[in-house]
Amino acid sequence: MKHLLTTADLSRAEAIRILDTAGQMAATQSREIKKLPTLRGRTVVNLFFEDSTRTRISFETAAKRLSADVINFSAKGSSVSKGESLKDTALTLQAMGADAVVIRHQASGAPHTLANAGWVDSAVINAGDGMHQHPTQALLDAYTIRRHLTGERRDARDPASAPLLGAGTGQDLSGLHVAVVGDVLHSRVARSNVQLLTTLGARVTLVAPPTLVPVGVEAWPCDVSYDLDGVLGDGKPDAVMMLRVQRERMSSSGGGFFPSPLEYTRNYGLDARRLRLLEDHTIVMHPGPMNRGLEISAEAADSPRAVIVEQVANGVAVRMAVLYLLLAGDVTHEASDKHGASDKNGVSPKEAGQS
């Protein structure tokens, strides 16, 4: 694996390997000293053409915990805002010797172009491109689902029943049912998750008003429903993933995707009543940032079922795993032996590198 551009490129084994490595990374993050020496001397560039404080901070934290040097390159206040092309930006980063470029771009396919146009030698990690993909989000979602739902069934309503840190290691998501609810049409999170979760053996049901489902969805390996109550009640999903709905989606005159925020909430919001339709073990997820009161009520967001804050923490571990596997995955023996720190910190690069 040279780049991480789309979850469609990941085999089941590769995905499990990333999740297992993330588990090892997560284990290091409960220690007092969280920093690993693994990527010392390597440079990671966060190239963000679109504002996303959350994702950038998550990647930055992940890279720094692995001792990489991090350069944040935001389109605002840089030459990009003066009209510099993606190509020239890429050539500049190449000249500066970036080992990995984490790119967020409003144009679908921009990471693909960056990785394949011959402009840079770096590993390219897609941190979200247009309506296409956001693979690390799907990986952190899969990691979160696996941790909570692959072992013994717990009562998700009971805050005391939190699963063990490394729960689910080595496993896929066979037999699980995940409902993804909301603006599927514009969502790179939905696309990434449909591909990754089904690769891992889960069944996915997309739930959205028909206006927010893309034409061509029939080719996706998932079910589609317009009836949230039906899916929550009869479908008995093990996880419910609510997608962010942008309020401006309903505003363009004649082209609004739904009549009003109120009607959206009434039909597709996860409110207190719908929360009670869920199975005891079902968890509630959201990629953030949430619109409380629109797609998700405060009851749902703050309920013990909600793993939304944990998703953020898992995001760091998953991004550490991805950076590690892309930048050090094949030379891990040497690097870890030299530093002698990885095993002590609970990461077993030998295992990760050879699996």
């Binding site: 469609a8 092309s85 993606l86 190509k87 771009h105 409003q106 144009a107 679908s108 396919g109 921009a110 693909h112 172009t113 394949n116 146009a117 491109d129 247009g130 309506m131 296409h132 993909q133 790179r188 696309r191 893309p214 034409v215 061509g216 969805v217 029939e218 080719a219 996706w220 004649g254 082209g255």
Partner: protein
């Protein structure tokens, strides 16, 4: 004066071999193969055409020459040179130049520069509306009566979406036998559109350009043309539904003609998966089912012509992320090969059909089959010597950087295509000979 050419053992329209003499701008003689010989006293050039098919010089109804305004991507000279290399003896230069070809002055300028360049006849297309803005009719009558004698009007690149304006345009051009060539694209249904809307767009996350946005305008326009009794031409139709609509309209007796591009005969939206903007074009590449439908429509005559929509773009307009790239691909130098590969080599059309869809029919639609410099005429004695010689058995690998067009945005780079244009004659003068363009100074003589 002009060189005499004896085309020995040439196969007109793929039929029985003949000898054909081109002299003084016309086809001087046609006789059974082996019966004509060069007169030793004059300077007759004998061309061994024993493996070559002769077609009437090709006529493109849809070319973007970019001059005036975007001479960095193409000029009238470079574009018509590319046309000659592709076997064309006449092109219709689309109106979306800067300034727009919406006045007699601009169309006459394009016409004059084209005539001086001498590679192919340049017939400017007039804009339907002022500045292509879709608000007011341009001075269609003045363009028609100018030296450029404009008969084809189009806002190509933009759709004349206002139904009242479209009706007026259709009616107005009747007085000088003009035609409105519509770029059928419902604008509201295609805001921000990047590629065909379907399975591929859903997966790769590019905003969709639905087939219905093309078909809805075609349906409206054929009914308008019927209502006002006018002539309509549908540019670059690309969907199976559009073929059905044209078939229906023709059966109903509506005076409509339609074109398909070479790229819509061979490429599909699967090519967008690599996000290479070389495959970004408007209308977008469609599905394999659409490709089959347009091939069928072309074979059965529903689609009248193939037109290139040759759309050169500079490297910076294509060397970028998909959404930032310009729409369009070059086509003049590959059109005939693509038609051969998709229609002739598959047995769906004869070379006579190729002559019809790439020469006689487009010349007739553009009303350049008569007058001072007629095009698309039969290969008969006394007709103007607009002739292209093709070697259908030869193949070549497309190298965009080596093409005659000033731009390199061919979707066929690195691909082997059948058929090589060996020579192109414009009124008896070789603009291309032995596969190479004959330099401009020589042509202009």
């Amino acid at each position: 004066m002009s060189t005499r050419y004896l085309l020995s053992h040439v196969s007109p329209l793929g039929g029985d071999s003949v000898d054909m003499v081109l002299a003084d701008g016309v086809i001087e003689a046609v006789a059974p193969a082996g019966t004509l010989t060069a007169d030793g006293s004059d300077e007759t050039v004998v061309v061994d055409c024993s493996s070559l098919v002769a077609l009437p010089g090709l006529v493109d109804l849809h070319t973007h020459l970019r001059e005036p305004g975007r001479e960095d991507s193409e000029t009238i000279a470079s574009g018509t040179r590319a046309a000659a290399v592709g076997g064309f003896t006449a092109v219709h230069a689309m109106a979306n130049t800067t300034p727009v070809q919406d006045t007699a002055g601009v169309v006459e300028q394009v016409w004059r520069i084209g005539t001086e360049a001498g590679w192919a006849d340049v017939h400017p297309v007039g804009a339907v509306t002022v500045g292509l803005a879709g608000e007011h009719l341009a001075e269609l009558g003045s363009m028609a009566s100018s030296a450029a004698q404009v008969r084809v009007f189009s806002d190509d690149g933009k759709c004349v979406w206002d139904p009242v304006l479209m009706r007026r345009a259709l009616e107005y051009v009747k007085s000088f036998d003009g035609v409105i060539a519509q770029h059928a694209q419902e604008p509201r249904l295609t805001e921000g559109a990047q590629m065909n809307e379907g399975v591929v767009s859903a997966e790769i996350g590019l905003a969709g350009w639905p087939a219905v946005a093309e078909e809805a305008i075609i349906a409206r326009d054929v009914l308008l043309a019927e209502h006002v009794g006018s002539r309509l031409h549908v540019c670059h139709l690309s969907t199976a539904g559009s073929v059905d609509l044209i078939r229906w309209a023709k059966a109903r007796g509506i005076n409509v003609t339609a074109e398909v591009t070479p790229h819509h005969l061979i490429l599909t939206d699967e090519l967008a998966r690599g996000y290479d903007p070389l495959f970004k074009v408007n209308p977008p590449l469609r599905t394999a089912a659409d490709v089959e439908a347009v091939r069928e429509g072309l074979a059965d005559g529903t689609i009248d012509i193939v037109a290139t929509d040759h759309a050169p773009h500079t490297r910076e307009d294509k060397d970028c992320e998909w959404a930032a790239a310009a729409f369009g691909m070059t086509g003049l130098e590959t059109a005939l090969s693509v038609v051969q590969q998709t229609m002739v080599d598959t047995g769906r059309m004869t070379w006579a059909d190729v002559a019809r869809v790439l020469s006689t029919a487009p010349a007739r639609i553009g009303r350049i089959d008569e007058g001072a410099r007629p095009q698309g005429r039969p290969l008969e004695v006394g007709e103007p010597a607009n002739v292209v010689l093709v070697d259908p058995s030869a193949t070549r690998v497309v190298v965009p950087a080596e093409q005659a067009t000033a731009s390199a945005n061919s979707p066929f780079g690195g691909h082997e295509l059948p058929g090589v244009v060996v020579a192109t004659f414009l009124r008896g003068r070789a603009t291309v000979f032995e596969g190479r363009p004959v330099e401009q100074a020589e042509v202009a003589r």
